[in-house]
Symmetry: C2
Subunit: 488 residues, 2 copies
C-alpha cells in the first residue's frame, strides 16, 4: 500500500458524546419506551412525532446555563438560508405544533412522544449528546387536576419501567411557591430571581453550603473557576434556605409548614392551594407518600415552567466499576408551562407535561440488572457443498422461534466453535459426513459444557469426555434444542 493511499484513507473514529450502543442497552431502552408509551396511551394520550428539526426561533432559548447564541443545540442553515436546529426536548416542538394546528386539534390536546433529543454540550460519563426522552403533555388545561394527573402518570411510568415501590420517588414543588418565598425574601429583580433559581437547583450537586455561596457572593470550584453568586444578604439567604428545607415525611405536614413560610404572598398562597388539590387527587388514586412527596428543593432547570414542577428520582442503589455504592438520581421530570404556546399565539394556552429520560433510566437499569442478550444457536457449516442443508436446519430452528444461523465465514470447525462462544450461543449443531450417513445431528449444549468444565455437573456426557454433547435423530433436533434454550 503506497503512502499516498494511506494518506487518503479516512480514520475510523466518531464524534464525542455519541457512543455506539449495543444489543443489551438497546433492548433495555426499547423495553422502557414500549412500557412507558403504553402507560401514556392508557391514560388517553396519542402518539405524535414532530420530527428532528425546528427553526431556531421556534425552539427559543430555554435551556439552562447557556448564554451564547445557538448554544446547546446543533444548528445549521437550510437551503433557504433559514437556521434550523435539532430539537433539544419534545416540549418546544409540541408548542409549535399546537400553535400551528390550533383550530383542528381536539382540546384539551393530549399527546405523547418518544424519541431522541440532541444537546450540543460537553459529554461526560452517562452524559451524552443524544438521548431518548419519552414525554406526555396536556395542552389547554389550567387547573392543578392536570398536574396531579401528570404526577400520577410519572409514578405509574416508573413502575412500568421496572422500579418497584420504594425504588423511586416523585418529588413535587411549585414555581409559585418559589416566587412567593423570593417575594418574602425581597428578591424582586427578574434577572436576580433567575440566578437564585439556578442556585437553588444545585442542592444535589453542591449541598447546602455550596448553594449558600451561590446565593451570596459566589462559589469557587475545585478547578479554581469562580461562579458569581446572586448577591443576597444573610437574612435573605436564611429565608430561602429555611423554605427549601421545609420538606417533611408526609405531604400534609410539608403543606402545613409551607403555608406558614409563604402564606403571606399571593403567589405563595396559590402554590399552596395547587399542591393541596394535587394531594387530594393523589389520595383519591391511592398514591401514597412513598411514591410522591412534596419537596421545596425541586426547581427544574428549564426556564419555561410556571406552576407545579416535579422530578422522578430512581432510588435503586448499584455499584460503580470500583464497587462503590451509587445512585442515578433524577431520571425524569416535568411541570406546568403556561407561556410556551402563547409565545406563538399571543393568547394563553395553559399546559403541563412529564418527560422520562429513557437513556439515563435504561443505563441505570442495565447497570443494576446486568442486562445481556442470548446468542443464536449456531449450525456449523462443515461441507461447503451442503450449504443448502445447513441453511435448511437453521431455518427449522427459526420456524420454532429459536434464534439460529448457519456459519458463513471461511473457517474450520475449531474457529466456528470459537465464534459460537464469542456470540454467546447456547448450543451448536454439528453435521459431518458421519452424521449425514446415519440421519442424525450432533448437538453440543454450550452452557452444560461450560458448567461441566467447572465441575458443576457429573453426567454421562462429562464422563465420556464431551460434556453437554449428544447425538439425536435429525427429526428431533428442534425439540432437543428447544429444551436447551428453554432450560437456560
Amino acid at each position: 500500500m503506497s503512502t499516498d493511499q494511506n494518506q487518503r484513507r479516512p480514520e475510523a473514529r466518531k464524534p464525542r458524546g455519541f457512543p455506539d450502543r449495543t444489543a443489551a442497552i438497546i433492548a433495555t431502552e426499547r423495553r422502557l419506551v414500549d412500557s412507558i408509551s403504553a402507560v401514556y396511551a392508557r391514560w388517553g394520550f396519542e402518539a405524535l412525532d414532530t420530527g428532528p428539526f425546528e427553526y431556531v426561533d421556534v425552539l427559543g432559548k430555554f435551556l439552562p446555563d447557556t448564554d451564547r447564541p445557538n448554544a446547546g443545540v446543533f444548528a445549521l442553515q437550510d437551503d433557504d438560508e433559514q437556521w434550523i436546529a435539532l430539537r433539544y426536548d419534545h416540549t418546544a416542538p409540541l408548542a409549535r405544533y399546537v400553535a400551528e394546528n390550533w383550530e383542528r386539534i381536539p382540546k384539551p390536546f393530549r399527546r405523547y412522544s418518544a424519541g431522541p433529543v440532541w444537546r450540543n454540550e460537553k459529554p461526560g460519563p452517562f452524559r451524552y449528546r443524544e438521548f431518548i426522552q419519552c414525554d406526555a403533555d396536556s395542552v389547554g388545561v389550567a387547573g392543578p387536576g392536570a398536574d396531579a394527573e401528570m404526577i400520577a402518570i410519572a409514578a405509574e411510568a416508573m413502575e412500568a419501567a421496572g422500579a418497584a415501590k420504594g425504588e423511586y420517588v416523585i418529588r413535587v414543588n411549585s414555581r409559585q411557591l418559589l416566587d412567593g418565598i423570593m417575594e418574602t425574601a425581597g428578591v424582586t429583580d427578574p434577572a436576580q430571581r433567575g440566578t437564585v433559581l439556578r442556585a437553588l437547583d444545585k442542592f444535589d450537586k453542591f449541598g447546602v453550603e455550596g448553594v449558600k455561596l451561590l446565593l451570596g457572593a459566589g462559589r469557587k470550584d475545585d478547578s479554581g473557576d469562580f461562579t458569581k453568586g446572586a448577591g443576597l444578604v444573610a437574612n435573605q439567604t436564611d429565608t430561602l434556605l429555611e423554605f427549601t428545607t421545609a420538606g417533611s415525611v408526609t405531604r400534609a405536614e410539608t403543606l402545613r409548614k409551607l403555608a406558614n413560610s409563604v402564606g403571606m404572598t399571593a403567589s405563595g398562597m396559590q402554590g399552596v392551594r395547587d399542591l393541596s388539590e394535587i394531594d387530594s387527587i393523589l389520595n383519591a388514586l391511592g398514591i401514597g407518600e412513598e411514591s410522591v412527596s412534596f419537596d421545596p428543593q425541586i426547581v427544574r432547570g428549564l426556564e419555561y415552567y410556571t406552576g407545579p414542577v416535579f422530578e422522578a428520582e430512581f432510588l435503586r442503589e448499584f455499584r460503580d466499576t470500583d464497587g462503590n455504592p451509587m445512585r442515578f438520581g433524577s431520571v425524569g421530570g416535568g411541570g406546568r408551562y403556561d407561556g410556551l404556546v402563547a409565545r406563538f399565539r399571543g393568547e394563553p394556552a395553559p399546559a403541563t407535561g412529564f418527560s422520562v429520560g429513557v437513556s439515563r433510566l435504561a443505563a441505570a437499569m442495565a447497570v443494576s440488572e446486568g442486562a445481556q442478550v442470548d446468542g443464536p444457536v449456531l449450525v456449523l457449516v462443515l461441507d461447503k457443498d451442503k450449504v443448502g442443508d445447513y441453511f435448511a436446519m437453521a431455518n427449522d430452528l427459526r420456524r420454532a422461534g429459536i434464534r439460529a444461523e448457519a456459519y458463513l465465514g471461511a473457517a474450520g470447525m475449531k474457529a466456528q466453535m470459537k465464534y459460537a462462544d464469542r456470540r454467546g450461543s447456547p448450543a451448536v449443531v454439528i453435521v459431518g459426513g458421519n452424521e449425514r450417513e446415519k440421519g442424525v445431528v450432533t448437538i453440543k449444549d454450550l452452557n452444560a459444557g461450560a458448567a461441566a468444565a467447572k465441575g458443576m455437573t457429573d453426567n454421562e456426557a462429562w464422563r465420556s469426555g464431551r460434556p453437554g454433547q449428544f447425538e439425536c435423530p435429525r427429526a428431533e433436533m428442534v425439540e432437543r434444542i428447544r429444551a436447551i434454550v428453554g432450560q437456560k
Copy 2:
C-alpha cells in the same frame, strides 16, 4: 397586544420535508420495526446503534446523483472545527464501526440497526428528509451464501411486515453481470460506466425509451431540463437493452439467458455463478419464484455495491386520493459491498446487507389498510369538587387495560361529548348528582349511538331516544365498558 409584541412573536412553522406524524402512522412504523427486527434477531443478527452523527470524511460520498460537496447530507462543524453530518444510511456508519472495532468483534460480524436516516434533498410526496431504515448486514463473508441469506431474509421481512405471498417480490441482479455486459458492449471508461448505471437505474421512472435516450445523447424532461446521456452508439445501447430485458418467469430460465449474453467475460461468468449458487440455496429454503426473481434491470443507485444487488418491491395495489390505482414499488434493497470497510483498513472485508425503507413501507401499509387508532373512554367531569372520584373511575378502567381519561378542560357536558367524538372515544361514562345518589353510572356506547343514528339498529335504547345509552351499578362499569370496547 402591541405591534411590538406581534413582531417579536415567532411564526409557528416547520422545515420542509419533516412532516409531523400522528398516531396511526407511528403505530404502523413501530409494528414494522418490531416485526422486521424480530426477523433479523431470529437469523442471528445483534442490534447495534451507531448514533446519528459521523465525521464527513468517514461517511464518504456514495449517494447517487449528488456532485456538490456535502450535498445530500445535513452537515455542521463540531466545536473542534471538524465537520460532522447526520448519517444518510446505516451502512457507512457500520463500515466505520467495524473498522474501528475490528480486533474485538466476532467475525463474521452480524448486526441489525433500526432508526432514522437523513437526506438533505428536495422533499416531495412520500419523499421525506428523515425516514426510518431497518438494516441487517454480514461483514467478513465472501461467498454468495451470505447474499442468498440476505435475499431470504428480505423475503421473510416482507412477510413479517404484512405482505402476503404474491404481494411482494425480491428482484435480484449482480453488479458483476452489469460489468460483464458493459465490457461486452465496449463501455470501459469508469465515468461512462457510472453514467450508464445511473441510466439503467431509471426503467421505473422513464421506461425503456427514456433509458435509451439516457444511454445515448440525452433526455429532455417535461420541464425542458436536459440530462446529458452516456453517449453510447446504437449497437452498444442495443446490447445493454437486450441484456436488461433478459428477465424470464423462472430463475433458471433467466440464468440460462444471462449466461448466453454475458458468459464470455470473466466478471459476467462470476455473476452467473453467484446467481446460480443463490438460486440453489433459495431452493433448499423452499423460496419460490413468486417471492424471489432474477431481474437484469436492477441496478441500485448507491455507488458502493460490488456483487449481487437486489430490491424488495411491494406489489399491493391501492387507490390514490383521486381513486386511481397505484403501486408503491421499491421499499427496500441491498447487496454486496466488499470495498466499504477496506476504505478504512486497507485490507479487504467483504460484506453484504439488506435495508427496508420502513417509513415508505409504513406509508404504503397505512394507505392500503386505512390505519387508525381507537380513542380512549372518556369519564365526564361534571362536579368540579368530585374530581378525585372521576379520576378513580378512569383508573379502574385503565387497570383493566382499557384506555381511559377523565376530562380535564373547563367545559360543560355538551362540549365534553363533542371532545369524546373528536377523540374517537368508544364510550363515555357519565356520573352526575343523580347517578351518585343511586350508586350507578350512565354509560353511552358511542359506536352503538352512531350506528343507531344511521338507522342500523332498533333497540330499546334507540326507541327511548337515547341510542346506546344505559345505566348500570358502579361495580359493573368496568365489565360493561370492556364489552363495548371488545365488541368493536
